[in-house]
Structures are given as C-alpha cells and as structure tokens.
Amino acid sequence: MATPASVHAHAPQGFIRRYIFSLDHKVIGLQYFFLALTAVFVGMFLSLLMRIHLIWPTAVLPLIGTIQPETYLSLLTMHGTIMVFFVLTTAPQGGFGNYFLPIQIGAPDMAFPVLNMLSFWTTFVGFVVIICAFFVTGGAPLHGWTGYAPLSALPSAGPGEQLGADLWITSIAIFCIASLMGALNFLTTTLDMRAKGMTLMRMPLTVWSWFITAILGLLAFGVLLSAGILLLMDRNLGTSFYVPLVVVNGVVLGHKGGSPLLWQHLFWFFGHPEVYIAILPGMGVTSQILSTFSRKPIFGYRAMVYAMLSIGFLGFMVWGHHMFMSGMSPYSAFAFSILTMCIGVPSAIKTFNWLGTMYKGRIRFQTPMLYAIGFVSLFVSGGLSGPFLAQPVLDIQLHDTYFVVGHFHLIMGVAAIFGIFAATYYWFPKMFGRMMNETLGKLHFFITLAGTYAIFMPMHYLGMAGQTRRYSQFTEVAYQTKLIPLQTFMTYAAFVTIAAQFIFVINLFWSMFKGPKASDNPWEATTLEWTTATPPPHDNFGGVTPVVNHGPYEYGVPGAARDYVMQTDPATAATH
C-alpha cells in the first residue's frame, strides 16, 4: 500500500505528457485558464462588433463588411454562449479550482487525474466545435444563448439555424459531459482527500465555493444534456418535443403537439444554477482576498458557508422566474417570486460579512484587493435590480429589455470576471513564480471598473424606457432615436474598456517572463498553497502531506509572533 510520504511521484519528462496530456491538476488548471483567456477575447471581440452595429448599423468594417441583422443575432448568440460556458464556467472553476482546490486542502492531486485530463480535453473539443459554427453554411445560430424553441428547433427558421445550430447544441452537450466529469472530481477530492486536520469548517471559503459550485454543476448539467439530446431529436429526427404546429414562410411543417415551455423549464432548471456556477467561485475568492488584505479574520466564517449553501439550494428552486412572461399560472409565479427574493437574504449576509471583514482592518490596497472590492461593488449594484425583476408585476414591464441585460451583465458577467481578475492577480505569483506589475494592475482596475459601470449602468435606463434586447437597428426606429446618444456613450465606453484589457494581457505575459521573482508567500496569507514552494512541485508538497492545525483566516491573533498564523503552524492555545 503506497503512502504519499514514501512515494514521491516525479513529473513526466516528455513534453506531451508534461504539458499537453498532463495528469497534473496544476497543468490542467493552467490549460483551462488559457482556454478561457482565448475564449474571453473571442467573446469580447463579438461584443465589440455588436456595440459598433448598434450605433452605426450600416458601417462597412474592414474584412467583415456590413453587419446584417441576422449576423447581429449570431453575434449575440455566440457572445453569450462562449462567455457563459467557456469563460465564466471554465476559468473560475476549471482553471483556478483545478489548480488550487487540491493544494488548499493538502492533497497531492485530484482524486481522478485521468478523468481530470479527459474533462479538460472534452471542454477543448466543445470549444472547437462551437467555433466551427461560425464557418459552416448559414453561419452561427440565431437563437441566443438560451436557445429557445421553436426557433432553435427548426432548421428552416433562419440562415444560422441550419448546421450552425446543430454544432451549437453538440458543443453544449460536450461541455455538459466535461463539466459533469469535472464536478465529480472536485466533489470526490474535497470529500476524501483533505489533509489531516483540514476539517470541513477549516476549509478556505474558496474551497467551499468550488465545492458548492461542483454540486450545482453535477445536478444542473445532466438536465441540460437531456434537454439538448431532445432538441437534437427535434431537429434531426422529426420529433416534436418543443415544437407545436408551426408555419414557416407559409409552409406547414410536420411538427405538432410539442411545447416550447418544456424547453424553457428544462433549460432554466439548468440555467439558473448556472448563474451561481459563474458567481460562487468569485464569492469564494473575494472572501479569501478581503480577509488576507484586511489582515483580519473573515467576518462570520460559518455564516458565509451557510449563505453559500443556501444560495446553492435556493438556486434550484427559482428557475420559473425566467418564465413569468411565458404563460405561467399566477400561483406558480407567486411561489417563484417569493423564493427568488429569498436569495436576497444569503446574498445580503455575504455582503454584510465582506464589509464587516474590511471594517477597521489594516487594508493593503494592492491589485487583488482592489478587484475584490470591485467585486463587492458590482455584486451589490447588479444584485439590487434582482428584487425588481423577481416580481412578476415589474418583470412584465422589464422582461427582455436592456434592464435585464444590465442586471445580469453586472452581477453574473462583470462581477464574475472581477472575481477571475482578482484570482489572477492574487494567485499569479504562486502559478508562475513571478509578481505582476502593480502600476499596470491598478491602471487596469480603475479603467475597467469605471468602464464597465459606464457600459452597463445606462442599460437600466434604456430598459425602463422600453428598449428591447436582441434588436439590431434602433437607429431606424423613430421613437427610439432619443435613446441613441446613450447607446453611443456605451459604445465609446466599451472601446475604452476593451482597450484596457490589453493592459492586462501585456501585464500577464510580461510578468510571466520578466516580472520580479515571487517569494513563497508574497501576500502573507495563511492557506496551504502559500506553505509550499513557488511554483509548487509536481506533487504539491514535495512528498509530505501537510498537517493542519488552524482555521483558514487567522490574522491578527493576539499573542502570535506575526500578524498571521499559517494553517500548518504548530497548534497553540488560541487555536480554534
């Protein structure tokens, strides 16, 4: 029986086994990270084209030409899908979760390393398939990231709904399988491979957030997989799960008897937990960073854990709030509405605890901290419009307007991206052994914060004024023309914000090779990843398994020699 102390596995030497088909969770984490980095630039480029089209619909762009209304729909579909699946799900969970979950619990690797490798490469295939959708006959699909039937179920519904839509569904199904493999691995690793002393209530909140995210992924992606299979059957085998009797261009199609509502139920049963899959890891990393850089224990550790658990649980109860306008019984709408507003309670607990953590702290305003504070700011700004949309009465007015776009971009898009940025700046020294440039980091932060608010805050006004999402040419609509200046302002803000992201990329790659060498614990943090070498050896702790004696956030402990107590420091009387 091999024990970790006696078997010190060495990294494989060949390039392919070491960097391509690696079983090392750290390499796989970096693969996920760079996949998401590629995807986020694709998604950002698509949004740039959309912003340009919204204010100059007839502009002739180099290489692309004029964006047609159908192309605009393809752009928004692919922007949403790539961002939600291949960035917001891939980077925080697949990337940072893979890299740091095993290290933070003191494990040498994931529980199933082969499954972990398969999970990444399956995700990669999914990404290749969805990119292919741009280049097939008819182009990318038109149906939005939500893929509402019957538009998504009928190949004759539009140019992009032919092979492009099949590729889209196939890509989603592949992504579902990859996420299921990943989630299984995360959960098993957390349950079975915690180092001695790493009890559940000593796990860093990042570990808790990845753990709860994995539970959500495990239960949600299976449903989307089934829904996708049925949608493929509708498209290719002539069944009518989602399609009632429809007429397209005067031709009665062979479908009958299905219900578009079935797709909406199945999709949103996945889709709402997916929102929390995107945001929960951001909450975890924000808690970690706020505590570290305020030099104070996290305020209300247990409350944070229970809040995340209840957010995860309630997340499965509220999918109906996406369907208030789809013909829902008022009694169901009432129940979904109440349950949705209940999510405000754990969210408020978390926000209160974040503020409580910072209160009277000795705050170090370094870039990771700025991004964590930015996360809290965006989480509150985006979250406050949630209770508006949760009420059927208001939702009937605001449904499918820019108000909704502003709401979910702030909270699920930008806040989650801020979580990713915070994690990148925070863990970069551990991952690459060098420090990122602080000046460029702060510059990037302030432009991005101001820029994203400038883009997404005005959307709330547009929505209340009645501007609907997914429409391509507002400049031609008489009663909308007064709103065009606001759209123009948002487009210019988008230009600036997108330009600022190149500061990040330059900083990232320059620091990777030329940045100052990082020490093992540059932030003076307490969790296990900072006890090992930088970057960590192949089996994370060089052949030993750490023993944990302390909670994850013991800063400013009275009587301690330093202002922080590492989790592996010897036990003291003050230990809890």
């Binding site: 079983l23 040498p108 690797d109 299921l180 079975d192 180092a195 085998l237």
Partner: protein, 267 residues
C-alpha cells in the same frame, strides 16, 4: 507511469492516516460513482419530466400496448430484477475473494442484461415494423397497423417511447460492457469485437440495430483505452462500484416500466 493516482491507493481503501477520514466513510471511486449516479438520475429525471409533460399536455394519449407487449416487458423486468440478485451475489463473492464465483455471477448478470437488450431490441423491431416510428424515419412499406395510426395521431408517443427506452438501453449496454471489463479484463475485448462484427452482418440493413450495434464498437474502443491506461486487476471495491451502477440502471427501469408500458396499456 507514475501518476498521482497511485498515491491515493491508500485513500481509496480508507486505510490512510495522513488524510482526514473520508466524509461518508467511502473510498474515492465509490463516492465518484454515487455522485455520477446523482447526476445521471437528473438526466433521466429530465427525460421523465419531458415524458410526463407531453403526456399531460396531450389530449387523448394513446394506450396501444396489448397483452404480448406487456408480457414481453414483464419478462424483461424479470431479467433485470434477477440480474440485480446475481450482481449482489457477485459482490459477495468478490468480498470473500472467490474469483471463480465472482466471474460466474458477473457472467450471469451480463447474460440477464444481454437477454434484456435482445428482448427489448426485438420488441423495438416489432413495433417499428407495425408502424411505430419517429417522423424523421422512413415508414415501413405497406403496413398500416394500429401503431402507424398512433404515430400519425400522437407523434409524442413514439418520440417519448423511443427517447426514454433508447437512453435506458444505452445504459444497460454500457453496464454489460462495464461488467465484462471488470470480470474478464482484456479477454473480454475480442468477445465484444466478435459480437459487434457479427451483429453488423447478421442484422438486416433495414433494421435500426444494424446501425445501433456500432455502439458496441465505441464501447470496444473506450474499454481498450481504459484497459491500456489502467491494466490492473479489479478487486472487490471495483466490483461493488460496478454493482452500484448496475442497480441504478435497474432502478431506472422500475420507473420506465410502469410509466411507459403499464400506463399505456389497452385495458
């Protein structure tokens, strides 16, 4: 291949002193399988939801199954229930390290599973030949049986029937291959290959299983990769984990049988 998985040998068997005790007292593979089953139950749950949704929202849901269909499905159910028993006996044999009987009981389980698939396949073929088809498939020539009328009147009926049972049949097939790999390891691969090739040539080309049999080819490929990556002897824990999967597949059938067959019986 020194990978980190070797290091968790200790964890998988719950013997290690360097880790916290596993939360549910189970080794990693077993926890992993339970989690997979949780997720798979949601996958089947979505399909059953789609079935129920269609059934409730469609007026005049047909009840075409007669005595012979129900008798056939009852025999299939009996096969699966018996296979659960032989699976349990196989796990017991593995736990007392009785290799011969482990193999025998697993083989018995595989035989019952295969009988289930064959009976199910024959029933599919019969229903298709009587006209129960998906709209996208060619209609059988010259037949206008009762099932053809059902397919024309309520296309949701064949769609949900084939959707649910195909997914389940796929799971049973994966289960048989899984047990074959656990029980016979690489000796199972040529058997699987022969069945695949023979099935392809013996099943007439107008039958859907002429193409469906290629699932076995895919299974052969995946099994070969797994046996290449982990050429180890499977122990009692592996048999138990395979058993979890097998019992789950049986359990799913206990939902499908009453919902799809019994509730659609002509009384």
């Amino acid at each position: 291949m020194a990978n980190a998985a070797l290091e968790h040998g200790a964890v998988e068997h719950g013997l290690s002193g360097v880790y916290e005790a596993p939360l549910f007292g189970a080794y990693s593979k077993k926890v992993g399988m339970w989690l997979f089953l949780a997720s798979d139950s949601l996958t089947f749950g979505a399909l059953l939801f789609a079935f129920s949704y269609n059934r409730i929202s469609t007026q005049g849901w047909p009840t075409p199954f007669g005595k012979d269909s129900i008798a056939n499905a009852t025999i299939m159910t009996a096969c699966l229930l018996s296979s659960s028993l032989t699976m349990v006996l196989g796990v017991f044999a593995a736990q007392r390290r009785d290799r011969a009987w482990t193999r025998n009981w697993l083989l018995a389980t595989m035989v019952f599973g295969t009988a289930f698939i064959v009976l199910h396949g024959m029933e599919w073929s019969k229903l298709i030949s009587e006209g129960l088809t998906l709209p996208g498939f060619p209609k059988p020539a010259g037949q206008a049986g009762e099932f053809a009328a059902v397919s024309a009147a309520v296309p949701q009926f064949p769609a949900t029937f084939f959707g649910l049972t195909a997914m389940h049949m796929l799971h049973v097939t994966i289960g048989v291959i899984y047990l074959g790999v656990v029980a016979f390891r690489k000796w199972f691969l040529p058997v699987l290959g022969v069945i695949w090739i023979a099935g392809y040539f013996l099943i007439p080309s107008d039958n859907v299983f002429h193409y469906g049999i290629h699932a076995l080819g895919l299974g052969l490929l995946v099994s070969a990769v797994i046996l290449f990556l982990k050429p180890k002897d499977y122990d009692a824990h592996d048999v138990e984990v395979a058993g979890l999967y097998w019992h789950f597949v049986d359990l799913v059938w206990m939902f499908i049988f009453p919902l799809v067959y019994l509730m659609s019986t002509r009384i």
